[in-house]
């Protein structure tokens, strides 16, 4: 591993330093090397602070935008997203790393920049069923296929309320009910969990995005 890191470091340094000037940005060798360089810089163990550790209630209150906390279940580091736009009840939240999430009252309906994004979702049945806390609903997910075409996947979901729970997110308490959504589709199945307050706002959730991303944890701050 050490040697591998050294070699990548050397190669990256050589090529990143050497490849300069605007005309080289699109050259295939330098694009490839930049991608690998970014990957290698991660191996060197640059660390940043997990917002779950560093965030305080004062900082959240002082922030100009609404914030949420986001973490992929298969990754250790969390990140914060800020609400930047709203379109017909859908709010778009953006991270420092230029990823975005589009939520309908906390339900993920689209993502961008995660690599295997949810391009859009037919949430017309799921959203009211979550508020009701029971029933069955169809979901249709839009994904980008490997050949730049939209591939649509449908799922049938069973929604049940499990219990009531008081949760605390960075010193704010919320009375919620825990709702489970169990979905089955031809391409596999997944289960989502939502902590929903009486106004129908999802404060905390674990939602499945795509086969490539898996599930993510989201908390409104």
């Amino acid at each position: 591993m050490r040697i591998l890191v050294k070699i990548t470091a050397l190669l990256t340094a050589l090529l990143l330093v050497a490849a300069c000037g605007p005309l080289m940005q699109n050259q295939s060798m330098s694009s490839a090397v930049q991608g690998i360089g970014a990957a290698a810089s991660d191996l060197w163990g640059e660390t940043s602070v997990d917002p779950r550790v560093s965030l305080t209630k004062d900082a959240i209150d002082a922030a100009p935008n609404d914030l949420l906390l986001f973490a992929r279940v298969d990754e250790e580091m969390a990140s914060t997203f800020a609400r930047v736009a709203s379109n017909g009840g859908l709010n778009t939240w953006v991270s420092d790393a230029a990823e975005s999430l589009t939520l309908q009252s906390g339900l993920v309906v689209a993502t961008r920049g995660l690599g295997n994004d949810l391009m859009g979702m037919d949430y017309s049945e799921v959203a009211p069923a979550l508020v009701r806390g029971s029933g069955s609903a169809a979901r249709i997910h839009d994904y980008l296929g490997g050949e730049d075409q939209i591939v649509r996947r449908s799922y049938l979901c069973e929604i049940t309320t499990l219990r009531s729970e008081v949760i605390e997110i960075i010193q704010s308490r919320h009375d919620t009910r825990v709702v489970r959504e169990a979905c089955i589709g031809s391409e596999g199945s997944f289960t989502n969990l939502y902590w929903i307050d009486t106004a129908g706002e999802i404060w905390q959730s674990r939602q499945w995005i795509s086969a490539g991303i898996g599930a993510v944890d989201i908390q409104r701050l």
Binding site: A32, D42, A85, S95, M119, D142, Y143
Partner: protein, 706 residues
């Protein structure tokens, strides 16, 4: 820090996706890199579009094979082999190229076996030449059996009189091979002479282990006869390890004496590392009702709108080249420098405009350009952008509500946005590989490369590349013995280590002479070996799958020192100049194949035609084959008889998941010979234009909202 982590995982696992299960066990790859058992073929086809790269062999022979499942039934293989001591113990190594084709005549049914017909090495010097008919059947989910009848090399063990001899006596005798300079199909040999039976079984022991055994009808007669190989039995045994669906490692016991190894890397061009890419999220659509007071204020001047739009587009990797706002319409001309799919750039521009245009503007007229040429006019309604963002099925609906029409005739940009006299430069190391020639698997050349580009206008610019070579000369590369002017075969004479050479330096001027017409004039040092003038005209309606082109060049062969001069050739008492040009027909078939025919005069003054057929994937992958036939006699052409080869294009964003227009081109098997050689001028019109035309836009419209 999340992004690099993700990317590193993606890069490291780029080729490690998907577990294999018994259900999708597709059989193995042979030592010849084709679908089969060990050395014998099977009738199973690989999944459509699969690319398999196999390196395999044993002590005396190694084969690097590139295999492509062209259609669900047809597969093609290109192979480069090292044959040690081919002419007896102690003789030098030989290197040989060969091509195979296999067609699955019958697919496998419940009771019916799959049946395939194949030609092995049907074009090369014929060293591996053999034909076969083979049947394969899945007996249990974990056991497959194959039996076949072979001819040629595949009948050198246990051969008997050709059963086809009952039809015609001619089939009983395989005529002696007239190799000549190789590279020609030998129709008079196929399925002739003795035939022999072969067969074998593959047994999937566990999800990742496959055992195989075969009876081989290849007797390695020539090798054993010359005493460079021992073979005691026609039976071969193998064990393959395939824990993932994307590689196979195998070990073999061959003929009772030899130990063989092979490794196959399997790529699926249809599947990207990251399907939607890791590039930054787009700017969200700004909906008008909650945004009257921001930048889109009515009182904003045009120059202020231009400034804001220009800055916002630059963030997205898009250069604004013109903005006109009149009444309810905003007309925007831009050049996409980041996204492979023009549809993605269109989506980004339209979203930026929702934030920078005054609320009164309802219609966005977008004009993507390349080399200053407007490629199409795409009209999108702003209210559709607002209504469809993040909605289900948004891509299909937005495509249906947009119109793609002929681009405007005016080239260039709006002077307010496009500063004239833009200078850009870059310096980077370079590596150039010449692979698979007749005497060496790979020659590399490396050094430093400098690029400059001076744009007087977007459609009129000077572009050049100079290289400082660090690696050794390639002067040892074989100089051909063709009877023609050495227009390509002396490429190794060009450029010396430790010196700076001009690769190219030319002025390019693009215009729109009329409706559906595009033109290019290039003047200067057009390529490494030739300088002169090049003119081209292309007719391509924006929504047409057909395009017609014409090109005329007058060029002089350049000096070996890659300076500004022309080379003196004592044999012709002076410099070499030639008028060369082609008429071209391009057709983008609806089944993802792309055909092209060029007819005209080549660099050595020879007349002829080039035929090319490529399978193109809308994610940018291309795999194809081409052949050039000219009036140069095969004997004058030299090795290979005529120019032919296969080529593939792998987009960088496919492999890395980032946003990039860059791609890697690989050309296999093309010997740089002098017959059928074309000028390599940069920026030919067809590839410049077609990415912005209707067919390409529709095929990648899924990226509009990405």
């Amino acid at each position: 820090m999340k992004r690099p982590l993700r990317l590193s995982i993606a890069v490291l696992t780029a080729f490690c996706a998907g577990q294999v299960s018994a259900d999708d066990w597709r059989g193995g790859y042979t030592l010849y890199g084709t679908s089969g058992i060990i050395e014998m073929p099977s009738a199973f086809a690989r999944p459509d579009a699969e690319v398999g790269v196999t390196l395999g062999g044993f002590e005396n022979q190694q084969r690097l094979s590139f295999s492509f499942q062209v259609t669900p039934r047809l597969s093609g293989t290109f192979r480069y082999s090292r044959l040690a001591e081919l002419f007896g113990p102690g003789t030098a190594d030989s290197f040989d190229r060969s091509f195979d084709l296999q067609y699955q005549v019958l697919t496998e049914g419940d009771f019916r076996p799959a049946v395939a017909v194949g030609l092995r090495d049907f074009l090369g010097t014929g060293f591996y030449s053999g034909e076969y008919v083979v049947a394969s059947k899945t007996l249990t989910p974990r056991l497959r059996a194959t039996a076949g009848l072979g001819w040629g090399r595949l009948a050198t063990e246990g051969g008997f009189e050709n059963p086809l001899g009952f039809l015609y006596d001619e089939f009983k005798v395989r005529p002696a091979r007239d190799v000549g300079f190789g590279g020609r199909p030998s129709f008079d040999e196929y399925f002739r002479g003795d035939a022999a039976l072969f067969g074998g079984v593959e047994w999937q022991i566990s999800d990742s282990l496959i055992a195989s055994a075969e009876y081989s009808s290849d007797g390695y007669v020539r090798e054993t006869g010359r005493g460079v190989l021992d073979r005691e039995t026609p039976f071969n045994f193998g064990l393959s390890y395939a824990p993932q669906s994307d590689y196979v490692l195998s070990a073999y016991a061959l003929g009772g004496h030899e130990f063989g190894l092979s490794a196959t890397l399997i790529l699926d061009p249809k599947e990207r590392v990251a399907r939607s890419g890791f590039e930054a999220a787009p700017v969200p659509v700004t909906v008008r009702s909650n945004n009257v007071a921001r930048i889109g204020d009515r009182s904003a001047s045009l120059s202020e709108m231009q400034r804001v739009t220009d800055a916002a587009l630059l963030e997205e990797g898009i250069a604004l080249q013109g903005l006109q706002v009149s009444g309810r319409t905003a007309r925007v001309r831009f050049s996409n420098e980041r996204y492979r799919a023009e549809a993605q750039a269109l989506g980004r521009v339209a979203r930026v405009l929702t934030t920078t245009m005054p609320p009164t503007v309802e219609v966005f007229v977008l004009e993507p350009t390349h080399a200053g040429l407007p490629l199409s006019t795409v009209t999108i309604r702003r209210s559709d952008m607002e209504a469809l963002e993040n909605q289900p099925n948004a891509a299909a609906i937005s495509f249906a509500r947009s119109t793609v029409s002929e681009p405007s005739a005016a080239v260039g940009g709006n002077t307010a946005n496009v500063p004239t006299g833009v200078f850009a430069w870059g310096i980077a190391p370079y590596l150039a590989l010449q692979v698979f020639d007749g005497s060496n698997p790979a020659r590399e050349e490396y050094g430093l490369q400098g690029d400059i580009r001076y744009a007087l206008q977007p459609n009129l610019y000077l572009e050049g590349t100079a290289r400082y070579r660090v690696s050794d000369d390639r002067a040892d590369a074989r100089v051909s013995a063709s009877a023609l002017q050495p227009v390509r075969s002396n490429v190794a004479q060009y450029g010396r280590a430790g010196e700076i050479g001009i690769e190219d330096l030319a002025l390019h001027w693009y215009e729109r002479p009329g409706r559906s017409l595009y033109s290019r004039v290039s003047l200067g040092y057009l390529e490494k070996m030739f300088a002169g003038a090049s003119g081209e005209l292309l007719w391509k309606p924006v929504d047409s799958r057909l395009a017609l082109g014409a090109e005329l060049n007058y060029v002089v062969q350049r000096d070996y020192d890659l300076g500004f001069g022309a080379q003196d050739f004592p044999g012709i008492d002076g410099i070499y100049d030639v008028v060369t040009g082609h008429g071209s027909v391009y057709y983008d078939f609806e089944n993802s194949f792309h055909g092209r025919v060029d007819i005209g005069r080549y660099l050595a003054g020879d007349w002829g035609a080039t035929f090319a057929l490529d399978r193109e994937f809308s994610n940018g992958w291309r795999v194809g084959a081409y052949a050039t036939l000219t009036d140069v006699p095969f004997d004058d052409f030299g090795e290979g008889s005529f120019d032919k080869g296969i080529r593939l294009t792998i987009p960088i964003d496919w492999a890395l998941g980032n946003a990039s227009r860059a791609a890697t081109d690989v050309r296999l098997s093309s010997l740089s010979r002098d017959g059928g050689a074309r000028l390599n001028v940069d920026g030919r019109l067809y590839e410049t234009v077609r990415g912005g035309h209707a067919v390409a836009l529709q095929e990648s419209w899924g990226r509009f909202w990405r």
